[in-house]
């Protein structure tokens, strides 16, 4: 093997590394995958993946710089990475030494979100007839919040203020970053198993990216398939994360969420007092109505015999009048006479012959006569 130039591995790697280091810094676009970050590590590691054909590139960035960017990247996010290639000499592995990262394409995100929204809507997850009404008096309220405290405190304070008897079980979870979506979905399930009969998702306002977990398919499905009603109080009025669409009730603020999830104790008391007053009034009025009806009946009862007598007298008078009209007296007074032979009333000339004795009855008496 004379004249052959042989390098040690170390020398080879070192040579390649030196050569690589002369390459310029440049921008590379890809999807973040396998993001690994630990507080005790000096660097953050991830793999940049080509979304088209899956080609991969290992990348490394000093943890301090990575943290300072506050990007809260999650797997699958599109980024532009500025860096230069370098060789990890010990292992002979090529990687991109990252100087900065920029999230790429909120537009792309929006489009993806819109696609997800369309497909979930087509499945009927947001349908109005799926919406359930909330229990009027929840036994146990399950609250999913982050540890950012503000939203959690807001909801709890208002729930307790409105309705001191409320029972609440709180599940604190991650509400942003790559771990948030599965954590939220799990928390919803946990709270249901704890016996919650209504779930409140509460998170204060945040950037578009901050609220992304609440549009994550896993969270949306967890909300839609939740066995008890869900109130979504995520972000501000203008934000509409997809979980809002799947929830049974959408609350614009944590205060609003408290208002829809528990009744107002003072209002309940007032309503109860009103019901009692009405009860008294109603009972009184009913009793009065009975008394009036009774008095009226009594009155009629008292007058009944007299009334009956009067009616009978009146009827008698009528009969007498009719009888009077039928009597011949009135006719006789007008000048007619009743002629009898023996006891027969004479109606025809055939009934008498000359010399017959007849009696004639006129209005004021009778007299005898002889037929000629």
């Amino acid at each position: 093997m004379e004249g052959r130039r042989v390098y040690s591995v170390r020398a080879f790697n070192n040579g390649v590394a030196t050569w690589l280091s002369r390459l310029p810094t440049l921008w590379v676009e890809g999807e973040i995958t396998e993001l690994r970050r630990q507080d005790r590590w000096a660097s953050v590691f991830f793999t940049l993946k080509d979304p088209e054909d899956g080609a991969c590139l290992a990348a490394q960035m000093p943890r301090g710089q990575f943290d300072a960017l506050r990007l809260d990247l999650s797997d699958g996010e599109r980024v532009h990475v500025f860096g230069r290639p370098e060789l990890y000499e010990q292992r002979g592995e090529l990687r991109l030494k990252v100087l900065t990262i920029e999230r790429y394409g909120a537009g792309a995100h929006l489009a993806a979100l819109e696609r997800l929204k369309q497909s979930l809507a087509a499945e009927g997850l947001f349908a109005a007839d799926r919406k359930r009404s909330l229990p009027r008096f929840p036994r146990l309220i399950g609250l999913v919040t982050g540890n950012d405290a503000a939203a959690k405190r807001d909801v709890l304070t208002h729930i307790v203020q409105r309705f001191p008897p409320a029972n609440v079980v709180v599940a604190e979870t991650y509400v942003q970053g790559p771990r948030a979506a599965p954590a939220i979905a799990t928390a919803i399930g946990d709270l249901c198993r704890r016996g919650a009969d209504v779930i409140v998702l509460a998170r204060g306002g945040g950037s578009f990216e901050d609220l992304l977990p609440f549009s994550d398919e896993r969270v949306v499905r967890a909300v839609a398939s939740c066995p008890v009603p869900v109130v979504s109080a995520v972000g501000h009025e203008q934000d509409t994360p997809l979980c809002d669409l799947a929830a049974d009730v959408r609350a614009s603020t944590p205060t609003h969420a408290a208002r829809v999830v528990v009744p107002d104790l003072e209002e309940l008391r007032a309503r109860l007092e009103r019901a009692r007053e009405s009860l008294h009034r109603g009972a009184h009025r009913s009793a009065e109505r009975h008394a009036i009806r009774l008095a009226a009946a009594h009155d009629r009862l008292r007058r009944a015999p007299l009334l009956a007598l009067e009616r009978r007298t009146a009827r008698l008078d009528t009969v007498r009048a009719r009888l009077g009209a039928l009597s011949p007296t009135a006719t006789l007074e007008r000048g007619y006479a009743i002629v009898r032979r023996l006891d027969d009333v004479i109606r025809s000339t055939d009934q008498v012959a000359a010399g017959d004795a007849i009696s004639v009855r006129v209005a004021d008496g009778s007299f005898g006569a002889t037929v000629e």
């Binding site: 709890l156 599965p182 009860l279």
Partner: protein, 65 residues
Amino acid sequence: MTEVTFEEAQRELEQIVERLERGDAGVEELTQLWERGEELYRICAAKLEGVRGRIEELSRGAGQN
């Protein structure tokens, strides 16, 4: 008597009030309704008084990994 919920008691009380206001309850029934109404009022009022709920924290880690 079996334990009624506040909601049930309140609903029954309001139904009784409605009946009374319609004024078609018989005299014997009237007394019964009124007494029942008062009882329901007491049940509801007792349920609203002095009850304090509980707030508990699900142990951290249960909802996440």
